[in-house]
Amino acid sequence: MLVSLEAKLINRKYLDSVKELVKPHTPQYCYQCAKCTSACTASKVIPEYKPHLIVALTRMGLIKQLLDSGIIWACTECWKCGEYCPQNVAPVEVIIALKNLAVASGYRPPEDLIAMARNVIELGRISPPIEVLSKEFEIYSRESLNLPPLVRPYAHESMRKTLKDLLGGL
């Protein structure tokens, strides 16, 4: 991840929004000990993914390339970084805030996530009940397994409206 170091690109706007979103966590106190990256689940399989670097870039407002790369969606939200961070930065909270900011700024989250969100709005759950295949290639469904049928959630219409507002134009 090559990032331009021109000082004029540094701007506080993003840090200020992130700071507001992650209260009471304190990303401004990060001293780059990298304990988060040492713990991080994602960094073990994706070498470019480094939570301490994401926090450092966010502090300087150098995040356009960060959001462009879409790497923030790699976070598994395992919360190890938040648990071990000695300065209550909680990189996971910063990344969730960046995810929210990205969507609000018009970036598209991963397609599967969009699909889940659409299903929650329409059906109240991230997916309709699906048919599954066993090891013996038999097909099973809720009915064939004698499980009670699913119903729409309580007050689904009003829930759908509220969610549509909260989730933006998805």
Binding site: C33, S38, S43, P47
Partner: protein, 657 residues
């Protein structure tokens, strides 16, 4: 006192005052005020001729009150008080009015109004001066002796400096021997001196010094009295050995069949039930630990008693209490390491091969559990890879917020220990910042980072796990190379955070000293007075005031001793002029004053069938809380009596005429 005769002096202070207002007009105004006998203005009141002017006026005009309108009293109040003294007047018949910092320096832009303000302030001072009275300073003799609590290097240094100055010193140490943490170290950074080699001569000096009495295996249980005259109760814990008979031959310790974990080895080695802390112990007198002694636990053995050539064993010993009367107290109770089991992600206490830096010192020490060989605790084999983790618990909002100060230098030293003991070993130092600030530290750091197979990794591990063979595995991101490293280490050393001793809280309350957010003793001023406290006569030496390495500890302790020597050499303590004074006729003994006094200076005593508040003139620091609280006005504060203050305020409220 009779007739009040006031002299008022308005200073020009060059252009500072004279350049904004007209001092002679203010003097003229003052001359017409009640009981003002003479009013002058002069260029520099604080100068020799200026002072002479006042002195002569006092004599010539029989003045009994002096008002000087000039700079802040913090500048020259003592100067002008000196003038009064010289002229035979009580110095607290002086009043200063600040017409520089409070008038001409801040109201330059409105000189007319400034002059009005100056006049009003002088008027208020004149009205207050009517009610000033002579203040007596109480002087009590100090006891020319000192108590040093804690026998580590700080206490040792302080005790020696005090004793060399001719002061009788009592050194109280809770362990069997003095020496503290420094005795547990193998070597000291950056010179790699053998720690005990440089420490033990000082310990012997303490033992031999005619002015020092050591009370080892003892603790302070009560402190009362006041600066210059403290009464301290010390509990001498039962050692079950008569130390006056014992010669320190050590035969008993050789023969004792019982075994106990050795605290001196940080739990790694064993000792007997009757033991010295370490071979060079001072005093060299053993102690029996009833938790492990076979006689106390099972009713058998008593071998030590049978073998002792001078019959010093005494199983019937009880607590003994002595009372010491000292003029000054130096607190040198040191530090402890933060409990590493709290840093659960590192597995200390769970995995055998995760140890603290202090435990590594014990492994490296020839007197330690492995006779100086650095080995894995799980199987006693030499480690091939050692990982040293810095800031374990430090700089961490979830554990200890502050830096431990000496962890970096200790880690560099520990690299040396490992390479010295196992030259082929790979050593990884996992750091966040290397703080090599002291004299010789950077050179020491250079030497070690230049060594083969020594890797300084800039990263902090998050979780340490155990592999099947007992070695430790963990990931750490190295900012230097930008790589996520996977490390397998045979031994992991944690440089732990540093905290005040667990049991220090009760002592702190006995001495009535505050603590800082970390729990360490609060100094009087962090920059200028780091070895003094708000409690007169009580000084701080060493790490109890905050984590320190040995050079800083020794300097701090010597400073504390010097301050104590200065305090004691005056021969007497003075009460504050702003003393709280009780009008016993008005006092109802309600006790509200005593409940708000932060210095415990007020006692409610039974006298003649009544309860009356009595002020300890040395403990009182003149804060005024009691006078403000007293509902009847019986408690007044010298120089700030209700009458004085009210007359000043009324004058200001009424306006200058």
């Amino acid at each position: 006192m009779g007739e009040v005769r006031i002299g008022v002096y308005i200073c020009h202070c060059g252009k500072n005052i004279g350049g904004v207002i007209n001092p002679s007009r203010v003097a003229e105004f003052a001359s017409k005020l009640p009981n003002v006998v003479v009013a002058r203005d002069y260029m520099y009141m604080c100068s020799s001729p200026g002072q002479m002017l006042i002195e002569e006026d006092i004599k010539r005009h029989n003045l009994n009150r002096v008002i000087v309108a000039a700079c802040s009293p913090r500048m020259h109040e003592p100067t002008f008080q000196g003038v009064l003294k010289k002229a035979g007047l009580n110095p607290w018949l002086l009043e200063m009015v600040n017409i520089r910092e409070h008038v001409t320096w801040v109201h330059e832009d409105v000189p007319d109004k400034a002059e009005e303000k100056a006049k009003e302030l002088v008027y208020a001072a004149v009205m207050r001066a009517q009610h000033l009275y002579e203040i007596t300073i109480h002087r009590l003799p100090v006891v020319k002796s000192a108590l040093v609590i804690g026998g580590g290097i700080a206490g040792i240094r302080a005790a020696l400096d005090l004793a060399n100055a001719g002061i009788k010193v009592y050194l109280v140490e809770k362990k069997q021997s003095i020496g503290g943490k420094m005795a547990q170290l193998d070597k000291t950074f950056p010179t790699l001196d053998c720690s005990k080699c440089i420490l033990t001569p000082l310990m012997v000096d303490v033992a031999r010094h005619p002015n020092i009495t050591i009370y080892a295996y003892s603790e302070v249980v009560d402190v009362s009295g006041s600066a210059g005259d403290f009464k301290v109760k010390v509990r001498l814990k039962p050692t079950y050995v008569d130390w006056s008979k014992c010669t320190g031959c050590g035969y008993c310790t050789e023969r004792c069949p019982a075994r106990a974990p050795r605290e001196f080895d940080e739990g790694l080695g064993t000792r007997k039930a009757i033991y010295f802390d370490f071979p060079q112990a001072v005093p060299r007198r053993p102690v029996i630990d009833p938790k492990y002694c076979l006689w106390f636990t099972k009713g058998i053995c008593r071998a030590c008693e049978k073998l002792c050539p001078v019959g010093a064993i005494d199983f019937n010993q009880k607590d003994r209490y002595i009372e010491l009367n000292v003029g000054a107290i130096i607190v040198a109770t040191g530090y402890e390491l933060y409990d590493m089991t709290k840093l659960r992600e590192y597995g200390y206490g769970k995995y055998k091969n995760v140890i603290t830096g202090l435990q590594l010192e014990r492994l490296s020490d020839a007197d330690g559990p492995t006779k100086g060989k650095i080995v894995r605790l799980s199987d006693g084999k030499e480690p091939e890879t050692v990982a040293i983790v810095l800031c374990a618990g430090s700089r961490d909002e979830k554990h200890v917020r502050y830096c431990c100060r000496f962890g970096c230098a200790a880690a560099i030293k520990h690299v040396y220990y490992v390479k010295h003991s196992v030259p082929e070993a790979k050593v990884f130092v996992l750091y966040t910042d290397i703080r090599a600030f002291g004299k010789g530290y950077e050179e020491f750091y250079q030497r070690l980072r230049g060594m083969d197979d020594v890797y300084f990794i800039r990263g902090r591990p998050a979780e340490i796990f155990e592999a099947k063979d007992g070695s430790l595995i963990f990931d750490v991101f190295d900012s230097n190379t930008g790589q996520l490293l996977s490390i397998k280490a045979d031994l992991v050393v944690l440089e732990s955070a540093v905290v005040p001793p667990k049991d220090w809280e009760s002592l702190r309350r006995m001495l009535k000293i505050s603590c800082d957010p970390g729990g360490f003793a609060l100094e009087l001023h962090p920059k200028l007075r780091p070895f003094e406290t708000t409690a007169d006569g009580i000084f701080l030496a060493g790490a109890i005031q905050g984590p320190k390495d040995i050079p800083d500890t020794v300097a701090h302790a010597a400073a504390a001793a010097a301050a104590a020597i200065g305090f004691l050499s005056k021969g007497e303590v003075e009460s504050t002029p702003y003393l709280a004074v009780v009008n016993e006729d008005l006092c109802s003994g309600c006790g509200l004053c005593a409940s708000v006094c932060p210095f415990d200076a007020i006692e409610i005593k039974e006298e003649g069938g009544r309860r009356i508040a009595k002020v300890n003139v040395i403990r009182c620091k003149g804060c005024g809380a009691c006078a403000a609280t007293c509902p009847s006005g019986a408690m007044q504060q010298n120089y700030f009596t209700d009458t004085q203050i009210v007359s000043e305020v009324s004058a200001l409220a009424g306006g200058a005429k």
